[in-house]
């Protein structure tokens, strides 16, 4: 029995040391600002290039020590990755450890993997972090939202393992493993501690799916024991949905398996104003962080200087926080919030009539 617990602890520590080695490296990188940190940038399609320009502009104005390596989605399938993303692009993210990704239009056709799937599998992105907070000055029906959803990104209901048993009967497998659940729980508590959050809530449906969500909960409880200063609670998902729409201030950090995470993170994005304002960051093995904008590529307004760069800007702030460049991150974050709350420069989707460049200039002025 004791030996079993010892082995369990050893496995947790093993997983932690595999996840977080890059943090030591990024600490030392921040200590010597003279040497710029290299980061990969995928501008993406549609409005992607414009908003990526916006980010570069703001970073220059704030003198952030980041050197961008731009990569574009190719127009033919790379056989090494089976997708339109080349091996070089992926290698660059692995080398640099951080990346920023704009919206990518999914190419239609067969013979290649979807771009998101490629990134996820090749970089081992296991956790999707989405902080949702009400933007002051942009009024939605909910004013007091301040929560973070952390979603397990690799298994669960999205394993893609389905088959037709007989005609008219289909089975789909939901897989939960101890390793993946421990990983994401570790990250959730680490994130909560690093960002000064008080509470972590695990969202589940273990009263019906006893073994699967039960395993997820067990892993969360084990990790919770190691962080006694953070309150840990478990909430059933239907309760969670109802509480979120009635009183979102009840939640702080939410950690969930794949499907629930998908639904709840989009629900929370809806509470604060939609995907056009929500930042997101994917955490991978070895401390890789790929921040991304989760909205679409909006081909109808591409090139017209009308797009809203807020989502990508806030995601880049998340990237800076991951790199421990917290003062620069706070500076840019406050500039963005001040610009939006002032209300003078707002892009079309927020109800104003400024262009992308005007908005960017206003953010730079607020720095």
């Amino acid at each position: 029995m004791a030996l079993g617990r010892l082995l369990q602890r050893a496995s947790i520590n093993q997983i932690s040391s595999r996840i977080f080695p890059a943090f030591e490296r990024s600490f030392s990188a921040a200590a010597s600002p003279s040497e710029p940190i290299r980061a990969t940038l995928f501008p993406g399609d549609g409005i992607g290039p414009e908003i990526a320009e916006s980010v570069k502009h703001v970073f220059n104005a704030a003198q952030v020590p980041i050197e961008w390596e731009e990569h574009f989605v190719g127009d033919k399938v790379d056989p090494r990755t089976e997708s339109f993303l080349t091996w070089e692009s992926l290698e660059s993210v692995r080398r640099n450890g951080v990346g920023l990704k704009g919206p990518m239009a999914t190419p239609i056709g067969k013979g290649h993997r979807s771009l998101n799937l490629t990134l996820r599998k090749e970089l081992g992105l296991y956790a999707n972090v989405r902080p949702c907070y009400s933007l002051p000055g942009y009024k939605t029906r909910y004013d007091d939202v301040n929560l973070v959803t952390i979603r397990e990104n690799t298994e669960g209901e999205y394993s893609g393992l389905e088959h037709q048993v007989v005609r008219g009967v289909v089975e789909s497998l939901k897989i939960i493993t101890r390793q993946a659940s421990l990983r994401v729980a570790e990250y959730a508590f680490h994130y909560a501690k690093a960002n000064g959050r008080q509470r972590v809530s695990a969202i589940h449906k273990a009263n019906i799916m006893r073994k699967t969500d039960g395993l997820f909960l067990k892993c969360c409880r084990e990790v919770a024991e190691k962080y006694p200063e953070i309150t840990y609670e478990e909430v059933i998902i239907d309760n969670c949905c109802m509480m979120l729409v009635k009183n979102p201030s009840l939640f702080d950090v939410l950690v969930m398996p794949n499907l629930y995470g998908d639904i709840i993170s989009d629900l929370c994005a809806g509470l604060i104003g939609g995907l056009g304002l929500t930042p997101s960051c994917n955490i991978g093995e070895g401390g890789i962080a790929l921040a991304e904008a989760v909205h679409g590529s909006a081909p109808d307004i591409a090139g017209k200087n009308l797009s809203n760069p807020t989502a990508l800007l806030l995601s880049s702030v998340m990237m800076l926080r991951h790199l421990k460049l917290t003062d620069k991150a706070d500076q840019i974050h406050n500039a963005i919030l001040n610009t939006i709350s002032e209300g003078k420069y707002r892009t079309v989707d927020l109800g104003g009539n400024s262009s992308t460049t005007d908005f960017t200039k206003a953010v730079c002025d607020h720095l």
């Binding site: 209901e157 789909s172 497998l173 019906i208 239907d238 109802m242 979120l244 809806g270």
Partner: protein, 376 residues
């Protein structure tokens, strides 16, 4: 109204010939009994209804319903049975009683988390084949919420999907759970949803799915919905992915009318819709099958309550009262149903007697007394 296409007429003739079809809880003809305007002699005889008080706040709110029924002299009498969430199975006598009476009113049953007992709610639904779960979420006048013009009916498949309970541990540390979708169940829930929309003058049916990821499983569900949609050309049909659906529900809920969903998504969507329209304490609902109907508080969140509410007796009886009004319609006592609903709506509109989840501080008994006082 649906246009009378030949296929639709054939469909209706098949039903009239006595092939039983799913029933809407809003009172349609029972099998082999025609709806007539004039009550026939003996229709006023009291009907037996099985009553399951349940756990937590269950006894409190079912007691409230009993009091109001007494005050109205409604032609129902209750056969009460004790069932608790930690029993291993629903007792045979309870199932027997529901099969006999065909109608049941139920408080919440607490399902233990992670334990070895399978959910009694699910067992009941499978035994009696209650395949459609219905939640009607609407804004109540006088109850301020963040969203206006909400009037959504969520129809959720109740027997299969993610809640099949088929799980096993492959190797230590790896667990699998099966989600089963069959054409038979998807078709009948789609048929139920479209019939409900047709009979209740609803304009749109929306199917909620995640078929971009679960292509075969939710794909089968969507196929069945599309096939049924062709038979109801007067009703608009569209599809929405579940994460987009939740986002739209919190920003623009007025675009939804009737929603048909598989099991898990239905649970989430129903609770979200209930939350935006005023909370699960006020939304009525029920589980309907071929021959039986079980009415309970609409959405499942919080239907057992917590100890504090039980102690202070401050549970909200409105949801169960409105569900019992649906039950009265199902039993074909529309005037009693109307009286009950009007009284409840008046109490809410007035705003003096409200329980804690609606922003007030009354006890259950005070709300019940107010409803009885407002009965006419």
């Amino acid at each position: 109204m649906a246009r009378r296409t030949p296929s639709l007429l054939r469909h209706l003739f098949r039903d009239a010939a006595g092939i039983v079809s799913p029933r809407s809880p809003r009172g349609r003809a029972e099998a082999r009994r025609f709806v007539t305007y004039m009550p026939r002699p003996g229709d006023g005889a009291p009907r037996p209804v099985t009553l399951i008080p349940g756990d937590g706040i269950g006894p409190l709110v079912t007691g409230a319903v009993q009091q109001v029924m007494e005050a109205m002299h409604a032609p129902v009498y209750f056969e009460t049975y004790e069932v608790h969430g930690d029993m291993t199975t629903v007792p045979a006598e309870v199932i027997e009683s529901i099969r006999r009476n065909k109608v049941c009113l139920k408080g919440g049953l607490r399902t233990p988390v992670g334990g070895g007992v399978s959910s009694l709610n699910m067992q009941l639904r499978r035994e009696l084949d209650l395949y459609a779960s219905l939640v009607h979420c609407f804004n109540l006048q006088g109850l301020p919420t963040r969203h206006e013009k909400v009037d959504i009916v969520v129809i959720r498949e109740n027997t299969e999907g993610e809640y099949s309970g088929l799980e096993h541990e492959v190797v230590p540390g790896v667990v699998e759970s099966l989600k089963v979708i069959t054409k038979f169940c998807s078709e009948r829930i789609a048929k139920y949803a479209f019939e409900y929309a047709y009979l209740n003058n609803r304009k749109t049916v929306t199917a909620v799915h995640k078929a971009n990821i679960m292509k075969l499983a939710d794909g089968l569900f969507l196929e069945s919905c599309r096939e049924v949609a062709k038979k109801y050309p007067g009703i608009k049909y569209n599809e929405i992915i579940v994460d987009n659906c939740c986002m739209q529900l919190v920003s623009k809920p007025e675009q939804f009318d009737v929603m048909v969903t598989p099991n898990l998504y239905g649970n989430l969507v129903a609770n979200t819709a209930a939350g935006i329209a005023g909370g699960t304490g006020v939304m009525p609902g029920g589980n309907v099958g071929q021959d039986h109907a079980v009415f309970e508080q609409g959405a499942s969140a919080g239907n057992v309550g917590n100890e504090k509410i039980v102690e202070q007796k401050k549970a909200n009886p409105v949801a169960l009262l409105l569900s019992s009004a649906m039950m009265l319609r199902h039993l074909q006592f529309p005037s009693f149903a109307d009286r009950l609903e009007t009284a409840v709506k008046r109490v809410i509109a007035e705003g003096r007697y409200r329980t804690k989840d609606l922003g007030g501080s009354s006890t259950t008994q005070e709300v019940v007394d107010a409803v009885i006082a407002k009965l006419d």
